[in-house]
């Protein structure tokens, strides 16, 4: 069943059916009613491929996600879910593409097959080959996260360096002198993952400014690593009284390690960092932390992308969000 069938049964031309559907040309009320009746009766829906071919746009966005092998964090999940919802709210579909590993074919298919009107990239490296790839092409894209030298590109990000800096100042104000940054995994740092490197920079900068002793450790994205990581910290640097972390997945292990060591938070040890609000609330005690506004970031990304698609010559825009640090119960004065 196609538009011709509808036209025949409604006694009009195919163009009239098309215009009745799109509203791009006025159609007599009676004609429109007849057409809509036939459409409803037959349950007709225009063929998306044909429409895309004729219109030159697919009404679909591409979303490039990290490979399944690497577990998604809560924040990343929030990105995916919200991108899909926000796209749906704009009557756009979302095509998923796993990147990395051996998924280059999939990425290339999305990027070059004109399957999508634009692409959202996440998990951005300071020097990201996918960003470079997209910049060579003409396909509109927006990244959640930004490369080291964003130039005239479109992106939305959270100011990791600034947030970590503020966490450190907060700890300094509470009298802490020796602090540690519990970072994401060694692999991510080695790969040049933006948030991990910017967190390190902000951490060391602020600690130096306040004359604090600053230690940093990488920690795999899983609870077990959080546990062993904290044990290592206690062994190597017993004088450390507070930690800043951006590693959500390690939190349960961290909590267990604190408990095992007989440390009460925040009396004996303070913890803060950049963490999804949901996870910060679940910690015991709830974490004083900068909440990553994942849903907001995803919404902005979709908005920016739609804007860029709609007006290809629009001036590049970006948003660097600076969420506040929510004071909960995991930081206290240094009593040692």
């Amino acid at each position: 069943m196609n538009i011709g069938e509808i036209a025949k049964r409604a006694g009009v031309s195919r163009s009239t059916v098309s215009y009745a559907l799109s509203g791009k040309r006025p159609v007599a009320a009676a004609t429109a009613r007849r057409i809509n009746e036939v459409i409803a009766e037959l349950g007709y829906r225009p063929n998306a491929s044909a429409r895309a071919l004729a219109e030159g746009r697919t009404r679909t966005l591409g979303l490039v996600i990290p490979p399944a092998s690497r577990r998604l964090t809560d924040v990343q999940l929030g990105f995916v879910a919200t991108v899909v919802e926000e796209a749906a709210a704009n009557d756009l579909d979302v095509l998923l593409s796993p990147s990395g590993a051996d998924h280059d074919r999939s990425f290339e298919r999305i990027v070059t097959g004109r399957r999508v009107d634009g692409v959202i990239l996440m998990e951005i490296l300071l020097d990201d080959p996918r960003v470079a790839r997209l910049e060579r092409g003409a396909l509109p894209f927006v990244s959640i996260g930004h490369v080291e030298h964003p130039g005239r590109s479109w992106w939305v990000d959270v100011d990791y360096a600034g947030l970590v800096r503020r966490c450190v100042h907060h700890l300094a104000d509470l009298g802490h002198r020796q602090v540690v940054l519990i970072n994401r995994s060694t692999e991510l740092v080695a790969a040049g993952y933006g948030p991990a490197l910017r967190a390190t920079a902000g951490f060391q900068e602020a600690a130096a400014q306040r004359g604090m002793t600053a230690r940093t450790v990488c920690c795999a994205d899983e609870p077990a690593a959080g546990l062993s990581c904290f044990e290592e910290i206690r062994t190597r640097w017993p004088g450390v009284t507070a930690a800043v972390t951006i590693n959500e997945a390690a939190l349960p292990g961290l909590q267990r390690a604190l408990h095992n060591a007989g440390l009460v938070v925040p009396r004996d040890f303070s913890i803060t960092g950049v963490i999804a609000d949901r996870l910060a609330e679940e910690f015991h005690p709830p974490l004083t932390a900068a909440d990553v506004p994942a849903a907001q970031m995803a919404r902005i990304a979709v908005e920016l992308l739609i804007e860029r698609i709609t007006d290809p010559s629009a001036t590049p825009r970006h948003a660097l969000l600076q969420p506040v640090i929510s004071l909960r119960s995991s930081t206290g004065a240094n009593l040692s």
Copy 2:
């Protein structure tokens, strides 16, 4: 740039370029080489919409996911990630569609716009309107989970009733006389969510068979609910010595409640259930539980769907997986 441009530059017809690309007709080696050179030089990729229109298939699968408002569990996440990977391995793209809430437009678009060659449904209710909707149409689909009366449909599922039954027998063998089922949320049960209802049935059946006292509670999908839920259990039924759960999200709260109550697992209280292996391992002590093979289920779903798409007249197939219960450290003899 299109196939005609390639044809012109290679000095052949468009059909020859097409056949060189698809391999559906032999092409002289020299001709093929010339064509491939031009293609490589110009970075040509066929337009996916045009191809889909001409071929009558989109090389895309639809995946209907729960709305973002409802947090995805670890198992569900595993489904999404693996479906995408497995599809990519077959050179298929995945179009996401949020269902439920006010996302009917999105679902209808996927189902009726011929945007996809087939659909994978997850989070199936015993009486699922989406399954009913798809069964009225001609679009191939496979569900992860199955309705109460699956008839001649295609699906893959885990035998929740059987697994929970075995958990109960395991506890009975250890001497437990009063057990509780910590189910998913009241809303999910009310909506007729298959696993929640089948777990209840299996639980009560096995408990009755072994002459045990069986209690059941619904618990929202979040840590805080797990905590309050367990406190309620202790208050209302102090004689309960073991719990079976299928609620992954409640586990951290459950763990905290046990700790708060001064209960040591498994000495004072036993816990088992149906839980993603990763989460079972993270519990302290690691949970004796039936591991939901999420990745395997997703792979089977994609396989079945491809089979159904390839041969629309194929005999319906389904798979009811019966994973073993992994003996870890959270169940012990009833010492009370």
